[in-house]
Symmetry: C2
Subunit: 392 residues, 2 copies
Amino acid sequence: MKDFTFQNPVRVHFGQLSCDRLVEELKQYGNRVLMTYGGGSIKKIGLYDKVVNALRDAGMELYELPGIEPNPRVDSVRRGAALCKEHGIDVLLSVGGGSTLDCTKWIAASACVEHDAWDFFDYEKWSPVERALPIVDILTLSATGSEMDSGGVISNPASSDKRGRLSPLLFPKVSFLDPSLTYSVSSYQTACGSADILSHLMEVYFSTGDTMYMLDTFIEGMMRTVVRYAPVAMREPENYEARANLMWTSSWAINGLVGADKPQAWSCHPMEHELSAVYDITHGLGLAILSPRWLTYCMSDATLPKMAQFGRNVFGTSADLPVREQALSAIDALSHFLFDTLGLTSTLSALHIDDTHFASMAAKAVLPYAGNLPGFKPLTAADVEAIYRMCL
Amino acid sequence: MKDFTFQNPVRVHFGQLSCDRLVEELKQYGNRVLMTYGGGSIKKIGLYDKVVNALRDAGMELYELPGIEPNPRVDSVRRGAALCKEHGIDVLLSVGGGSTLDCTKWIAASACVEHDAWDFFDYEKWSPVERALPIVDILTLSATGSEMDSGGVISNPASSDKRGRLSPLLFPKVSFLDPSLTYSVSSYQTACGSADILSHLMEVYFSTGDTMYMLDTFIEGMMRTVVRYAPVAMREPENYEARANLMWTSSWAINGLVGADKPQAWSCHPMEHELSAVYDITHGLGLAILSPRWLTYCMSDATLPKMAQFGRNVFGTSADLPVREQALSAIDALSHFLFDTLGLTSTLSALHIDDTHFASMAAKAVLPYAGNLPGFKPLTAADVEAIYRMCL
């Protein structure tokens, strides 16, 4: 296991949303708030009115940036940063899922610089993050873990790029996690969010190096939590226990703890970012389609034992088989969970995606890694293209 | 499950101790350091020289408080606070186990007030913690979890009191966790530390209310980690994997995460504090003797299912028995682990403790709870006395 530094400063209020506490937390940073949100689902569930009224009653000056996209675009970051500068915003309030929050994080950084927002993601410029406005969020979707991490992923449709980046300045100051705010999340989005959580866990779990047993028990526990509760939340959308377990798991899957001792070489996320950059598909769906094929492609003497362990400890597959058969059972169990239990589309063809862009997408996926994506099995552009083809 | 707030601001550097980083972290707070430590084991392992040389080379002004006791006494807190005031100390550096760190935390608070240190623990005064000096620590024992929590326990021999208290100001700023610094911990102290970790987990795990499945998987994973690695560390003291797993488990067992959704009504710790206050026995040993008896005393229709779950998920006991038999198997497995595998003394009589003080100790244990210790099974003074007797 490798040495690491762990610190996660986010204050999380878990449970019923208290508007008094929200106002109190925001007021630490000032009076001028930019509230960011997406397509309006927060209006349907009454959350918009509740928050706006609470802030107005408290005498806060409220500005709004609506319409943040599911794969948030750099144009939204630019619009948000312009609003912050124009109105001298003190604190950002993200109300929504991970896309809204990711966008808000980069608004927080972009509001403090003169250069264009994309300069943070341009590989040649890679402008440093030296300041950021404080961020408070109210989460309405369990998926990305953005509520407890320091990164955000932004798309640039002009260049078909989708890129993520971390900075300790981008941790939210405070995250409000109220599981009941996810009651209205559709069965399909619950499935996609759950696939996203599972993928975050798989990206760090599948490592060929020595890992810390204790952290592996946490990962396997969270994987079992997703396997246990995602179907419950899909079937009974107002099941608090299921929504709470998915929500807290989404945060701990990717807040720096469980991957700290591991190389942190992610594979499916870079591959998926190219898919959703070109086709604008739901991130979790893309990850679900890729994951079992990626594991199949990674099968080798070095990787089989961890796959077998995954099957036994997450899906309860039999230990009484040779390790190769155990690994195959594990991949079968994963596919069954994603495509049968969660009911997610299992192929790219079914999404009307063909191989037209596979070569260029594969080249882009490995670009930041000098052509060789490290990971459970290191992948060249040819490997990535082969995995895309397995998904057809 | 109950609503909760979670925030843990401690920065942990896990792995090989870097003196450069230590100096860098300390210098954030100033140049005048009070280094606190215990009986000198840090000199035997060369850690004292290494740290002192690094700080002197960096031009820092170093003061020392040696001799902090295993059950740290309020007199040590007073001596430390006086040194801080006398020398205008900027930052405290605790080098040792949880006792040294607990004492250091209360030195940090006492250095900022004019009143006596015990006023923080006197039930009638209960002086507020409004300021504290910053604390950095280098941990040399995996047990109390003080490196990632906000509390400390102090003994007052004059009144045979041993009391703990929390304050968010008492989180260490930075904890250095180097598993190799625990290589020299004796087999006996490794056993006692492991029993302490296991007890922290049991105190929150055993709850009759609804708990969050995901957090229970973390607790069970940490319990399995202790059961797996404590015997390895006792047998092979320089096994890094074992020492690392125990060390990170000690931190996460009691840093606010896994008990957040539960009532946090502890039972064995209040009972043990009376034992070690009167007889100055090792805290982990006292907990080991108490725990199986406490569970046996708690057996009821309401508590049996969680005990059975504990047996199945931690010790792999059979699920094919009635729940009462499963619970008994779980308690047997726990006793076997503590007294046979770890080799800890199993009775108070063997420590030459008789029932002379049981009545007054029991009365004191329930005193802060108005005579009724809440918990897995609420306990009156008579219940506590009965449990002490079961330990003879």
